[in-house]
């Protein structure tokens, strides 16, 4: 129900902006850009769900993104090419860079988690400190300079520079839709096998239909956003070929969006189907009960923050690749966007409640608001005023809704 409300809000928002901008909002081009702009915040919001569900908070994600981005920028522009003599655009550069970035992010996250879990310093304080520390570690590492250009393969993770192309995108879309339907069907079969009550067939069929249409609809949209002719010409020239006259090639699914999908699906499975996920929600619902059930809640905290650090590094790859360089202000205010996305997406700050898809929808709604207002021509200060108000309003609506339902 809540999911339907959020999808409804998103659709109304899109249609509203589309009318005001005379149909410029719901173009393949804009929706493509909207999705690649959302990815960085959405990936971190997935991790933030786990943090908030266990009654913690992480204020350092934007700063952590900056530090991991700085580390990766230095690795690929200074360390590997000059100091290790691998030269520019070595085919291994991107992989080594990302591994280094992910490692650093996970390590810093685990360190935060250790301070929260074992030293019992409140997460608010640990990450408030981390916010100042890592923002300025990033500054120190790069001397405040913008680092670029980045490795050409690395840039493929940013969005426009790396897409699957039409055919692969269609194949992926069909594959994803088939998987989604199979998951629904096998879940139903498992319930039926034990003789538990199942939802009516029409409800499950409708759900399967909506999911399939959403997946294939997105693929259709990103495929119809054609690569500009000039750009296509350059791509053919780079390969030493000439472009056939009148050729139209769609972008297809951006690799960064693919990463978000992988993160979202993996974390949803983790949340629902693993002991780790079960313990996260149990700890959020009643930390004492979790402890008395023999769950090592301290180690759990370390793992959750380590995961958050890992996802910050993934976001750093996407964000710096999208901008094609590392700038000193990368990820500024992201911590607030990430928390807002998770909260708009239904994650309760009191703990125990939250979903991954909700957080992604939350991120999408915020990005749609922001870029929609930019298209309409709303002044920058008013954009942030609106986004801030929407955050408070969304949480209020959620409280009213939960009270009506009689739930917590």
């Amino acid at each position: 129900m809540r999911l339907l409300g959020m999808i409804g809000a998103f659709v109304i928002l899109c249609i509203g902006f589309n009318i005001v901008t005379d149909g410029r909002f719901l173009t393949p081009r804009n929706l493509f850009n909207l999705s690649i702009q959302t990815v960085s915040v959405a990936i971190m919001a997935c991790g933030m769900v786990f943090i908030i569900v266990t009654r913690h908070i992480d204020l350092s994600v934007g700063a952590l993104l900056a530090t991991t981005s700085a580390v990766m920028a230095m690795t690929q522009t200074e360390l590997l090419p000059s100091m290790l003599g691998m030269g520019l655009n070595n085919p291994a550069t991107w992989a080594i860079t990302i591994v280094v970035g992910l490692f650093v992010g996970t390590l810093i996250g685990a360190f935060h988690g250790w301070m929260v879990g074992y030293l019992t310093i409140p997460a608010f304080i640990v990450t408030l400190g981390g916010f100042l520390v890592w923002r300025n570690v990033a500054w120190y590492l790069t001397s405040g300079q913008t680092i670029g250009p980045l490795d050409s393969t690395f840039l493929m993770f940013g969005g426009t520079n790396g897409t699957l192309g039409s055919t692969t995108s269609w194949m992926f879309g069909l594959f994803a839709a088939a998987i989604a339907i199979w998951v629904l069907w096998s879940g139903r079969r498992a319930k039926a096998a034990h003789g538990f009550p199942v939802k009516p067939v029409w409800a499950e069929t409708t759900l399967a239909g909506i999911i399939a249409i959403a997946i294939l609809g997105y693929v259709y949209i990103v495929n119809s956003y054609a690569i500009p002719t000039r750009r296509l010409q350059r791509m053919f020239e780079a390969r030493g070929e000439t472009m056939p006259e009148g050729l139209v090639v769609g972008y297809g699914i951006p690799i960064s969006v693919l990463i978000l999908i992988i993160v979202a699906v993996t974390l949803t499975i983790v949340a629902r189907k693993t002991r780790f996920g079960r313990y996260i929600f149990a700890t959020g619902g009643n930390p004492d009960a979790a402890e008395l059930s023999g769950i090592n809640t301290r180690m759990l905290t370390v793992k959750i923050f380590a995961l958050m650090g890992f996802l910050c590094a993934v976001s750093a790859v996407v964000a710096s690749a999208r901008l094609a360089n590392h700038s000193n202000d990368i990820g500024t205010l992201d911590e607030l966007r990430v928390i807002a996305a998770a909260v708009i997406g239904g994650t309760a700050l009191s703990g125990g409640i939250g979903t991954i898809y909700g957080a992604i929808l939350g991120a999408l709604i915020m990005q749609a608001l922001q870029s929609g207002m930019a298209m309409v021509g709303v002044d920058a200060p008013f954009q942030n005023i609106v986004v801030g108000s929407v955050l408070v309003l969304a949480v209020y609506i959620d409280i009213v809704y939960r009270k009506r339902l009689g739930a917590k």
Binding site: A190, K273, T274, R278, A282, G285, A290, E291, L292, G294
Partner: protein
Amino acid sequence: MQAQETQQTPSASGRGSGAPPLVEMRDISVSFGGIKAVDGVSVDLYPGEVVGLLGHNGAGKSTLIKALSGAYQMDHGETLIDGKPVEINNPRDARANNIETIYQTLALADNLDATSNLFLGREMTTPFGLVNDAAMESECRKIMAQLNPNFQKFNDPVSALSGGQRQSVAIARAVYFNARILIMDEPTAALGPHETQMVADLIHQLKAQGIGIFLIDHDVHAVMELCDRASVMKNGKLVGTVNIADVTDDDLLSMIILGKQPGQTAE
């Protein structure tokens, strides 16, 4: 419960047979910041026996028992199970020694459903390492059908359940996993008369299976009815342990209030 092995012949309490007690807690002390909540207390429990723990609020009953369930660590003393010393430093150790606890607060994660709570910390998994919800729900339905046949809300979070239903989830969790030693901390405090009777029946049933039960209760009448022996505590110290058959309600009350063994005259 259906998986329970009957270790003793029904109703035969192991006491007096010369075998070591199921649990023996010797000279236990637990202090919090200089205050001795439990001070040199020794209690024991035999298979198939119910030992009541009585005393005022703050007498140290719950603290003593939490040292056994691993929630608190003792400062001094030792715990023996089947005559062998064991280290219980956390709830995981207690569970490994087949000690199960029903806490006064029930210790349920309110946001999860009955099945998840029943298996919390001990989930059944598929060969791929994922939790096997369907199999767990099936087991949960089986045990709830025995404990509380009216229970139907398997897919709601336990926050949506009534007090008695929540209690039966907590009880199911304690008895499902082959408990040998069961600790019940005021199991009937929040229940109506019908549900209280249900718990009493269950205690008799578990006792017959040879499980040893520590029952913490305020209600002297309940203790008289359910227990074989009673240990009374006052101000962190043990007043004494008596056979229920040898004492009256008034004897127990005077032990609780005056801190004196029966026979001693309150002067």
